[in-house]
Amino acid sequence: MNATQAQPRRDRIISIDHISKTFPTPLWRLRKFFRRSIKPPVQALSDVTFDVRAGEIFGLIGRNGAGKTTLTKIIATLVQPTSGAVKVGGFDSVRDDEKVRAQVGLATAEERSFYWRLTVEQNLMFFARLYGLSDALARRRIIELVEQFELKDLVSRRFGELSTGNKQRMAFARAMLSKPLVLLLDEPTRSLDPLAAARMRSLINSLAGGSPPTTILLTSHNLTEVEELCARIAIISRGRIRALGTPKELRAEHRQTERVRLTVNGLARERVHQILNNDADEIEQQDNALVVSFTRETGDDRFDRIVRALHDDGGKILSFETERATLLEVLESYEQEHEAGEES
């Protein structure tokens, strides 16, 4: 592989430009005429802007009702934005919707999106034909996919007879039928056992790193998975993007502190209290050692001060751990910020 090949392509495949979406009250004129109560329109998205680059795995996290599904559906052309524009591979999601759909695969955990009385093969064949694949090409592709997604022994089984995990694999296999440029994944490992989930994550990584690379937009409530897979993450709350960056950047932006736990022996608890004065937040006895916990600002001298003090008094540092903000804490903090803003 030469240097040029090794360089990932950085062109923007999904471009989301100031998207807003307000779901209007259905038939409000008719309701007004009959003097029925009119619910206010629902603002699902507000001024959302970001790009996803070729071959990137991009995570979208947020609570239920945050706007993730609406955004995914706008990208998949199932819903039209109220304002703004979405482009996929250079095509506009409203004007060139069929061209956009030809490049997008969507895998959701929704089991009802298949025909339960048809077999695995019949289901995949139907969708392959919708994507315009000839019968011969569709058969070849289905053979590849059932191998890849470990569905080979189930091709003649009716969809309704599959386990939840296998149904989810089917959804992924269907999304890959046309080898799409962009893959939209909603909770890709929700119903899988830990081993299958790990294999699925590895598959997602290999697709993004493949040639040509598949660009993946992943929405999930499994924050560990998002952190493991995604190069960049957007936090969406009440229809707005609250933060966007690499997992490291998000944590750093959220909290500039880290929690440190030192395990020490050779010193009595009372003595440690004395020498550290108020520097430690917590001192716990654990077996024959003491665990000293404290929070420090990233880059300050507290760590150095405490280690020196313990060492100078004859203490022996057995181990230390640092703990930075988790993605969950980052997400919670944005929600709390928003709620505090609303209350004030």
Partner: protein, 272 residues
């Protein structure tokens, strides 16, 4: 050019194959339907025996069994033309498969037409069975041009499909309670002359019957198949159907495009 022609056909075929596979997964229902048609034709045969030798002033009704089974076969076809488009959308919405179908690079109108293609295949088979059982078991003979009868059948089905498009538009926006279905479904059986001559209706109801496209379709087909009339003699119902089509086709397509836009804006395309 070749691709532009082949691709939509391939997609229509995909829907027909899918629906065939679904239909044969319910084998018993398939055979029971055939048996039901045989029972209906037999029942009408015995009712027709009541009128033997009584004579009638309505020439199309001299052989009432022939008139009834033609009426039933054709009504079946018309109702499919009218209802299958809206039903296609509704049934995909209710199954939960509409979203996955609409995610493929295929336009909504193509989905609607292709989803109803199997219904036409099936109704052609069922309608033929009415005529076939009448001929095989009860000595019903048809004369005249089958081609001309087919033209009437296709034309009336197209007119009703336009109303079906309006009905599908309604289903897309309001989801249920489609007035077109109620009016045409019950109205056609009563006012279009399926079971009795429309001339028996009073003058007020006769006017209603003249506003319904199936009246002209049925009249034309019976005059061709039962009385053996030619093109010149059936030109009036033929021209009327062409006028219906010329008005309803552009109007229904315009309404449908607006309904699809509205459903996408409201995000209600897959709701039911």
């Amino acid at each position: 050019m070749f691709k532009a022609f082949i691709l939509p056909l391939r997609r229509v075929r995909a829907f027909v194959v899918r629906d065939f596979q679904l239909a044969i997964s319910y084998r018993l229902e398939f055979f029971l339907r055939i048996l039901t048609i045989l029972f209906v034709v037999t029942t009408f045969y015995f009712i027709s025996q009541i009128f033997i030798g009584s004579g009638t002033r309505f020439s199309e009704w001299r052989d009432p069994l022939a008139a009834w089974i033609t009426g039933l076969a054709v009504l079946n076809y018309f109702m499919t033309g009218f209802s299958s488009l809206a039903n296609a959308i509704r049934s995909e919405q209710m199954q939960g498969t509409l979203e996955s179908v609409l995610l493929s690079p295929i336009s909504v109108p193509t989905v609607v037409v292709a989803s109803s293609a199997w219904d036409f295949v099936l109704v052609t088979f069922h309608s033929s069975l009415y005529l076939f059982f009448g001929w095989l078991f009860f000595d019903v003979h048809f004369r005249g041009s089958f081609l001309l009868a087919l033209i009437f059948l296709v034309l009336t089905t197209l007119v009703l499909a336009c109303l079906g498009i309006l009905s599908a538009s309604f289903a897309m926006v309001f989801k249920r309670g489609d007035p077109f279905g109620i009016l045409l479904g019950t109205g056609s059986a009563l006012f279009s002359g399926v079971f009795f001559p429309t001339q028996l209706l009073g003058s007020g109801f006769h006017a209603v019957s003249r506003m319904l496209p199936p009246t002209y379709g049925l009249d034309g087909i019976r005059r061709v198949l039962i009385e053996g009339q030619g093109l010149a003699e059936v030109s009036e119902p033929l021209v009327t159907l062409l006028i219906f089509l010329a008005v309803l086709l552009p109007f229904s397509l315009w309404v449908f495009a607006r309904a699809v836009r509205r459903a996408k804006r409201e995000g209600s395309l897959i709701q039911y």
